[in-house]
């Protein structure tokens, strides 16, 4: 396919592509085998926000699903920078994705985090757990995404085994956990356990300062328990518990006062 002029998306377009010549089919995981730049061709469905990268029409289609509600504005912001550039590599796309994701995060902090996972839920259907695990491994903003994905998958296997295949981790619970962690990136990585109904329970422990446990319910609410030392009574313990929603949890539990929960 030989097209020399890239076509840019307009408000009326329902698809966009920027085909580039001289594409050499290869696995995404492999580095380019020669100095010749490898260009990427990608298609975005503006109605759903799904970005699909394809090598060549006849080659294996590599699908990278990233559900961004504001995909249109992201592409329009990015394209003028590359117009006229010689090539666009897979690494370029990856760095562009992170840059555009961070731009959206600064534009609307907590809302953006939640809208990402909500869009993924609408897209994923019954495979929500699988897609969220991929999200943790690829897009999740905190650095511990891979470790968290490993733990989630291990818990999923354990829950399935114990329930004889009749219960798995709740995708809705994981969705809310991810949204909370992305909205509060200064928090350190929590330990995760599974609750009796497949919900995820996140636990932060301070060495001697206390413990914060949050149960992310499948219905979108959270139940939390904060145990901390009582400064006025060295042998005493203060306990605060409550029910709220993930977007209110940080403020209602006053987590900003708990230095042991924050990445140092």
């Amino acid at each position: 396919m030989a097209e020399t002029n890239p076509r840019f998306a307009t408000e009326d377009d329902d698809s966009f592509f920027m085909p580039m010549p001289s594409w050499r089919p290869r696995s995404v995981s492999q580095k380019p085998q020669s100095a010749a730049p490898h260009r990427a061709r990608f298609v975005v469905d503006l109605s759903s926000g799904v970005l699909t990268m394809v090598e060549e029409p006849e080659a294996l289609e590599l699908e990278i699903e990233h559900a961004y509600p504001a995909m249109t504005s992201i592409l329009k912001a990015y394209l003028p920078e590359t117009h006229g550039a010689e090539y666009l590599t897979v690494d370029d796309i990856a760095s562009w994705e992170r840059a555009s994701y961070e731009q959206r995060r600064f534009a609307a902090s907590q809302v953006a985090a939640f809208s990402n996972t909500e869009a993924l839920r609408e897209k994923s259907g019954p495979d929500l757990l699988k897609h969220l695990s991929r999200y943790l491994r690829s897009i999740f903003r905190p650095a511990y995404g891979l470790a968290l994905a490993d733990r989630v998958e291990a818990l999923s296997r354990m829950v399935l085994e114990e329930a004889g295949g009749e219960l798995n981790l709740s995708g809705e619970s994981l969705e809310n956990l991810i949204a909370f962690l992305e909205a509060n990136t200064k928090l350190s990585r929590p330990s995760l356990v599974a609750g009796p109904s497949g919900e995820l329970i996140a636990i932060w422990k301070g060495a001697k300062q206390g413990e914060f446990t949050v149960r992310f319910m499948p219905d979108g609410t959270v139940r939390y328990l904060l145990t901390k030392t009582n400064r006025k009574h060295p042998k005493g313990v203060s306990r605060v518990s409550g029910d709220t929603t993930p977007d209110k949890l940080f403020d209602e539990a006053r987590l900003s006062e708990l230095r042991w929960m924050v990445n140092q």
């Binding site: 599974a194 139940r223 939390y224 328990l225 145990t227 518990s241």
Partner: protein, 116 residues
């Protein structure tokens, strides 16, 4: 051990925590009664994870710990529940309200962990 072990299952509207009453099982001491429990559980065919453990609680200690930590200072009930269950089946009641606090109190009252 975390409080997850003492939470009620929401999707089946559980009203009490299922536990096993060791004193109702054959054996002269806790070790032998646990061995009897393992035999009984194996007969049921329940899936038990290889890394699973039993938490052993003393009823009096558990009730006292919950009483001290619950905001309403309640005394939870531990009763045999044998309708439709084996004779060694029992239930810890009154944990739903302030569930996270109660579950943590039960964790704090665990005396020992034994392999399942």
């Amino acid at each position: 051990m975390t409080l997850a072990a003492f939470l009620l299952r929401q999707e089946i509207a559980e009203t009490y925590l299922s536990v096993n009453w060791l004193e109702s099982l054959p054996g002269a001491d806790q070790t032998s009664r646990l061995a009897s429990l393992r035999v009984e559980i194996a007969k049921t065919g329940y899936g038990i994870a290889k890394t699973a453990k039993y938490a052993v609680l003393h009823v009096g200690t558990a009730r006292k710990t919950v009483h001290e930590q619950a905001s309403d200072q309640r005394w939870i009930r531990v009763a045999q529940e044998t309708v439709g269950f084996p004779r060694y089946h029992a239930g810890i009641h009154d944990t739903a309200t302030e569930e996270m606090v109660i579950a943590q109190a039960l964790v704090d009252s665990v005396g020992a962990l034994a392999p399942a």
